[in-house]
């Protein structure tokens, strides 16, 4: 039994050392970069934010890596999209983190999709339809108005978890929100020529962006969500585009270029690679940059 008691003692000592340490900033574990950026915008230097994924990773499919478990262990607040986007890895992280604060039902667990009306709810839920999400399409961050909705809820949640800094969170959120609304008006004005533009998308990742800017989606390259397009399915889309032409084909930065490149060449479309989230291109260093870049890239794609 000697090793057991040693282990318990070691655990106790280290555990006490950890709990005794000063609790300076609210520790945020953000599943995706957009929520990390939002939490940083609200929290400033009163939060320390860890981002679980990058713009070049498919948030549906990453590994439940040990490093993520270690970071989730000490988080005060988990900010994720929800709507089953992270279902392939987050449950393992939550279970293995042994962190009470971020478990289901705790105020430290925040799902952005809870504060947005989701589009594309499947009428029939069956795996034969591909990788569909029962709750609806989870890629809500492509509409800046959703960012505002989530931000308001997140600011309130952060204030609840860290009442000492609540005033600063509220002030920073008010400031961000005002600048954000002005920016939305600016983006909408700039994107007016995009209204009604017919587009092709690689993955059904942009319904919120399309609705916001009035883009008209005429085809999706993936035959079913999460299913790679085959040559046959691409050929069918090419035939469809001959009847209903589109201007551009859109994909997210993390998606492989092959299918988009093929259809762009075959159907004479502009290829538009959107950053999709913060960090997706050089300009997208924060949320403002993300939409500056998104609108600019769409406008550039529209030019003949």
């Amino acid at each position: 039994m000697k090793p057991v008691t040693f282990l318990l003692r070691l655990g106790l000592v280290l555990g006490l050392a950890a709990s005794g340490a000063a609790h300076a900033a609210l520790k945020v574990f953000a599943c995706e970069p957009e929520w990390a950026a939002l939490a940083t915008a609200i929290g400033g230097d009163k939060v320390s934010v860890y981002t679980a994924t990058t713009a070049f990773q498919d948030p549906h499919r990453i590994e439940a890596r040990p490093s993520l478990i270690a970071r989730a262990r000490s988080a005060d607040l988990l900010v994720c999209t929800g709507a089953e986007l992270e279902i392939g890895w987050l449950p393992v992280i939550l279970a293995e983190s042994a962190n009470r604060a971020i478990q289901t039902g705790q105020p430290g667990q925040f799902f952005a999709a809870d504060y947005v009306t989701l589009l594309d709810k499947p009428a029939v839920f069956d795996r034969s339809a591909g990788d569909v999400h029962a709750a609806g399409n989870p890629h809500i961050q492509t509409d800046p108005r959703n960012i505002a909705r989530v931000g308001a809820a997140l600011a309130a949640r952060m204030a609840q978890l860290d009442p000492a800094d609540a005033a600063q969170f509220a002030a920073r959120w008010a400031d961000f929100s005002a600048r954000w609304q002005a920016a939305i008006a600016r983006w909408e004005a700039a994107a007016t020529p995009l209204r009604g533009t017919p587009v092709v998308v690689q993955h059904a990742a942009f319904p919120y962006l399309e609705r916001w800017l009035g883009l008209r989606q005429v085809a999706v390259l993936e035959p079913k969500p999460g299913v790679e397009p085959s040559l046959a399915s691409l050929a069918a889309i090419k035939a469809k585009l001959a009847a209903t032409p589109a201007k551009m084909v859109i994909r997210a930065a993390y998606q492989p270029p092959r299918a988009s490149a093929w259809i762009a060449e075959q159907a004479g479309l502009a290829q538009v690679v959107l950053p999709f989230t913060v960090g997706g291109d050089a300009q997208s260093t924060d949320l403002f940059g993300l939409f500056d870049s998104t609108v600019a890239r769409l406008l550039a794609g529209r030019k003949p």
């Binding site: 070049f56 499919r61 890596r65 040990p66 490093s67 270690a70 478990q103 993390y254």
Partner: protein, 458 residues
């Protein structure tokens, strides 16, 4: 009639110079007024146009589905508990052998998932249920359905709300030792088990007991765990005692190297006190013997896993390397007798003598997803029989199955996964696990996952 031109001419004639300037002033005033009115009208028109445009936008926005207040918590999954079913089976092209064993090692014996049937066979179908019990616990069941029986592979609860990185698991669970041990066969990268786990545990080590785990509050993953159990699986035995017949300790560390690489390494220790552990073999003259072992069993297990994916995005390409090394020491008393009185063996009349074994081995594997859905993998298993003494001499002098032989196996596989829920696999194995046998084996395997299949661990 009135002719302005005439009037102007007359006036001009009447008031030659100064009247001309007055008229110019009048003209200028009229012109200014006209310009001003035109400007104002133009301004009004623009404003009207703008208003119209705005109304259109508003109308268009109104037409585009109004935004109802989202129902809070609408994105949670509605069904509770999570249910999933794993169907798996294979076609195995194997040579006909009277018996199959791993030479030089006291084997774990039975295989939970069906092992070496020739031709077509289904492996056990795994039925998995899991859910939160309440805010404090979660529960998990993994039952394997076989012909006429249901094996409860795992049935446990785990605390969700202890805090401080602590969690307690109780019930029947796969031990946290090693790397592959916690994986069910459907998560293996090959159609067959590796020789290390095969001789150590049969499939993997699971027992009824409790597990305490602690996750360090560090940015580098560090996890320590301890388990006490009834030892109802090889190499332990359930000794009908109140205490723990088996103790396991393990520690794991892990982290990332850049965005593309991640790793985990671990060291585990398993102590068991088998009492009357069944032993079946045959002696060097092919006469069957049966007996049992009592004593102590110590196993050290070191594991290392390294995964690579470009930018941490494994969808297109990824690579996984895994290796585990073990050392097992057993010492005690081995009692043996004839399995069949009509066929006398070296144990005739009953023999009970000191037994000591110091054995080791490793497996190492690499799996590469070279394009979406397709993976290739190679695994090399090597056991080192080491010293096995029985009754003052080498155990190979008495028992044929414990012959001085180092078993090994090469496996090469390619698998295709149309989605993350289905997998088809082809495997070729060069099996030299049994002394004097070198067999080429072929496997075709399927693994189908239905329902809300939970996320896999690293």
């Amino acid at each position: 009639m009135f002719r302005p031109a005439l009037l102007v001419a007359a006036l001009a004639a009447a008031f030659p110079v100064h009247a001309d300037t007055d008229l110019d002033a009048l003209r200028a005033e009229l012109k200014d007024m006209k310009a001003a009115y035109e400007a104002r009208i133009q301004a009004l028109e623009t404003r009207l146009q703008q208003t119209e445009a705005k109304t259109e936008t508003v109308a268009a926005q109104a037409a585009r589905a109004p935004e109802p207040a989202p129902a809070a918590e609408s994105t949670r999954r509605g069904f509770n508990p999570d249910v999933s079913l794993i169907l798996q089976g294979k076609y195995a092209h194997l040579e006909k052998r009277d018996e199959r064993f791993v030479s030089g090692f006291i084997g774990a014996g039975e295989h939970g998932h069906g092992g070496s049937e020739r031709g077509f066979s289904i492996d056990g179908s795994e039925l998995i249920l899991s859910a939160s019990v309440d805010p404090y616990f979660r529960g998990y069941l993994n039952a394997v359905l076989n012909d006429g029986e249901v094996d409860v592979e795992e049935a446990w609860f785990q605390t969700a709300a202890l805090g401080q990185g602590l969690s307690v698991k109780g019930g029947r669970f796969k031990s946290g030792i090693g790397y592959q041990n916690e994986q069910h066969p459907h998560a293996w990268d090959f159609a067959t088990n590796n020789l290390v786990y095969e001789v150590l545990f049969g499939e993997g080590y699971a027992q009824d007991g409790v597990q305490l785990k602690w996750l360090a509050p560090t940015d580098t993953f560090l996890e320590l765990g301890a388990e006490l159990g009834n030892g109802n699986a090889f190499p332990a035995t359930n000794n009908d005692s109140n205490g723990a017949n088996s103790v396991a300790l393990f520690g794991h560390v892990g982290g990332d190297v850049g965005a593309s690489n991640s790793w985990r390494a671990g060291l585990s220790w398993l102590r068991a006190r088998p009492h009357g552990r069944a032993f079946e073999s045959h002696d060097v003259n092919e006469a069957g013997v049966t007996g049992n072992f009592s004593g102590k069993s110590r196993t050290w297990l070191a594991d290392f896993v390294w995964k690579w994916a470009p930018n941490g995005n494994p969808t297109q390409q990824n690579f996984k390397f895994a290796a585990e090394v073990f050392q097992r020491k057993e010492s005690g008393v081995l009692a043996c007798d004839d399995a069949d009185i009509a066929n006398p063996s070296l144990c005739t009349g009953g023999l009970s003598a000191p037994f000591a074994a110091d054995q080791s081995g490793f497996y190492t594997q690499a799996v590469y997803q070279f394009m979406p859905h397709w993976r290739v993998g190679y695994r090399y298993d090597q056991l080192l029989r080491g010293d096995v003494d029985f009754n003052g001499s080498d155990a190979g002098d008495t028992f044929e199955t414990l012959a001085d032989y180092d078993p090994r196996r090469h496996s090469l596989m390619v698998d295709y996964s149309p989605s993350e829920f289905s997998r088809l696999r082809l495997q070729v194995t060069r099996d030299e696990a049994q002394q004097g046998v070198a067999e080429n084996q072929f496997y075709v395997q399927y693994i189908m996952s239905l329902g809300s299949h939970g996320a896999h661990k690293f």
